[in-house]
Each structure stands twice: as C-alpha cells, then as structure tokens.
Amino acid sequence: MKRTIPLIIVITLCFLFAAHTFIPHKISQDFFDWYLDWVRAIAPFSVVLGIMSMTMNHSARIQRKTPNWHYSIVTLVGLYFTAAAGFIWGTQEGTPYMWIFRNVQMPMGATMFALLAFYIASAAYKAFRARSAEATVLLLAAIVVMFGQVPIGVQMFGEGILDVTQWILDVPNLASKRGIALGVGLGMVATSLRIMLGIERTYLGGGQ
C-alpha cells in the first residue's frame, strides 16, 4: 500500500503527460501548468534533505569520534556559517556571503579543477604506456586538438594543424558523438518507458 499509491501516482501522471505532448488541449495545458506550480513548490524542500543528510552524517562522525572526525567540524562550521551569512547580511555584492564565495569557495573550486590537469597528464602517460592502437589513436587525436587550440601549435606545425583539428572535430568526432547520442537517446526512452509502465521502481526505495 505504501509503495502502491506512489506508484499509481507516477503511472497516472506519466500517461497523462505523455498524452499531453501529443494532444496539447487547453484542459491538458491548464493541468500541466497547475502541475508545474506544484512541482516548483515541492522542489525547494529537497535542499532540506541535503542539509539534513550532511548534518546527520557529520554529526554522527563527531559523536562516534571516527578517524579524522575533526574535519567534520570544519564542514559543519563552513556549512552553517556560510548559510547564516547569506541570511543575515544578504547575498548581494560586498556582503560577507559574497566575500566567502570569492575568497574561499571560488579559489578552492578552481584549484580543484586545475589539479585535474596534473592527473589528466598522468592518465595520458599511462594510456601511452599501454601501447594499444586505440589508446594511441585517442592520444594522437587529443594532442592534435590541443595544438590546434594554441598559437604555439600553428608556429610548430603551420596552418595545416588548424585544418586537421577542424576535420577531427567535424568528421570522426561528429560521427562518434552522433552514435553515442543515438544510444543515449534510445536508453532514455527505454528507461522512461520502464518507469512509466511501473517496471523500474528503484526510486521508491527497497522498503515496504
């Protein structure tokens, strides 16, 4: 019963909205607009779920004094202090909230991604050492595309590198992306149909 009612809601709404796509009648459109208003009102509460999950997880670590539990205090202080700064002083430019964003969150986020440059180089080296034909093709395509993006590439290999880069992007890359997009599209249709017909129920959890 506890799983059947949500399942009936999902199946009914799925069939109604699938039909709405083909028959955009005024009644159907009004119902869809009403539904969107409801979904928009429900959505912000999902953030509460994230906050609760994070708080409970890190509080449990602190209470149990698991290894490295001190860092959980840092996470919780960061979480609540930043949120409080946004609510107390506002989110406009020049507030403590924006100062935290510009001088704490943004530099760390950018550096995290910059750090990946080193690991990508390491992964490329490992792929090269694998000495398989596929890995070599991948690496060669990457090197050509990279040199085609920077002035030093043109200086080293001439204007031809730009044409080769453009050809890789327009021909094999396009075919590759199209083949994968078709596969993903068919996969999405299949998964949506499984949910619509009630075969896929993992989103309802495993309990009774």
Binding site: F17, W38, I42, G78, T82
Partner: protein, 204 residues
C-alpha cells in the same frame, strides 16, 4: 589592506589544495572539508531566494494562492526520509515529481533519436559525409550487444571503436585545455594578485 588580506586568504586555500600534489596532508583535508561545507552553505540562501521565495512564500503569503500550501506540505514530507517508520511518506513528493518522466518518452525520442537520425540521413555528397555515415553506423553496431563481436562483424565494429577513440581524444584534448587554462588562472592569481600586489602595497 583588506584586499591584500582577502587575496592571502584565497592564496592560502589555493595552496592548501595544491599541496595534494605532494601527498594527502592535513592542510588539504582541512580545505577539502571546508570546500564541501561552504559549497553547500552557499547553495542554501541561493535556493531560498531563487526557489522558496518566488514559488512558495510569495504565492501563498502575498498572492494568497492558498492551494499551494498542499504541495508545500507534500515537499515537507521529504524530511521523513531519515525516519525508519515514516520513511514511506517521503516517497509521495518523489512520485509526484517523477510524473514528468512521461513527457520524457516523446521528448527523448524527438531530441535524442529523431533529430540525430535526421542529421545522419543526408545525401552522401563527399568523402566526409560518407565517413560520418560509416562512423555513425559502425558505432551503433558496436552498441548492439545481442551479437558477439567476432568475425567480419567484429572487424566492422572495430571501425566504430576507432571512431569513438578519435571522438574521445578530441573531448580529452578540450578537457585538458580547459584544465590547463584554470591552472594558468590560479598561477596568475598567485603571482600577480597576491605576490606582486603585496610587494607593491608594502613597497609604497
């Protein structure tokens, strides 16, 4: 003076993250945990202002659309996710949101399949359109798992793998360039914004 201080705070956290290149250490862990907390904390007021105020507070309390109290209560049921006995209540807002999946069937079919097929079904006028056609067909054959990739079929499928490797290589090249661009940005920040500005400030 405050700008110099702000830059030094940003530089400290930047160096904390970079310290991971040497090995995992307490400075990195401190910055990593703070980053997670601050990122989540940053999202809360944004969600409040961009979603809670215009979609819940304003319609109910200012426009008096009291029927929206029901979805708000439905959304509040999310909190029972962590309660073993009342966990089933949290499935209702999830189920309500999943209704949109029904719309996804025709929309995915259109955007993901038909548009791509329309792009693929063009007259073969030159060698490049022929190569694109060959690539698309062989990649689709690669993803057809009901037949073993052996014999002549395996060789055709191999062509698809090569096409995919070229495509992945192009994406990989772009990703590396984006990451290096970010790295240059961080190095410029450390050298110009932090070191040079500090020297200029204390030198003047």
């Amino acid at each position: 003076m405050f700008e110099i201080f702000s830059n030094w705070v940003a530089a400290f956290f930047t160096l904390c993250i970079f310290s991971f290149l040497y090995k995992d250490n307490p400075f990195y862990r401190f910055a990593e945990h703070l980053f997670v907390g601050v990122s989540m904390g940053y999202a809360i007021p944004l969600t409040w202002n961009a979603s809670m105020i215009p979609n819940v507070y304003r319609p109910i309390f200012l426009q008096h659309r009291f029927e929206l109290i029901f979805p708000a209560l439905l959304g509040a049921l999310y909190i029972f996710t962590f309660n073993r006995k009342l966990n089933w209540l949290s499935k209702f807002p999830i189920a309500f949101g999943m209704g949109l999946v029904g719309m996804g069937v025709p929309m995915s079919m259109n955007a993901g399949v038909l548009v791509q097929m329309r792009g693929a079904m063009i007259p073969i006028q030159d060698i490049n359109t022929f190569l694109v056609w060959v690539g698309t067909v062989t990649i689709l054959l690669y993803f057809f798992f009901s037949k073993a990739h052996t014999g002549a079929y395996g060789k055709i499928v191999k062509v698809g793998i090569w096409y995919m490797m070229l495509g992945f290589g192009a994406s990989f090249g772009y990703t590396v360039m984006a990451r290096i661009s970010l790295l240059i940005g961080r190095i410029q920040f450390l050298v110009i914004d932090v070191v040079q500005n500090t020297i200029r400030f204390f030198g003047s």
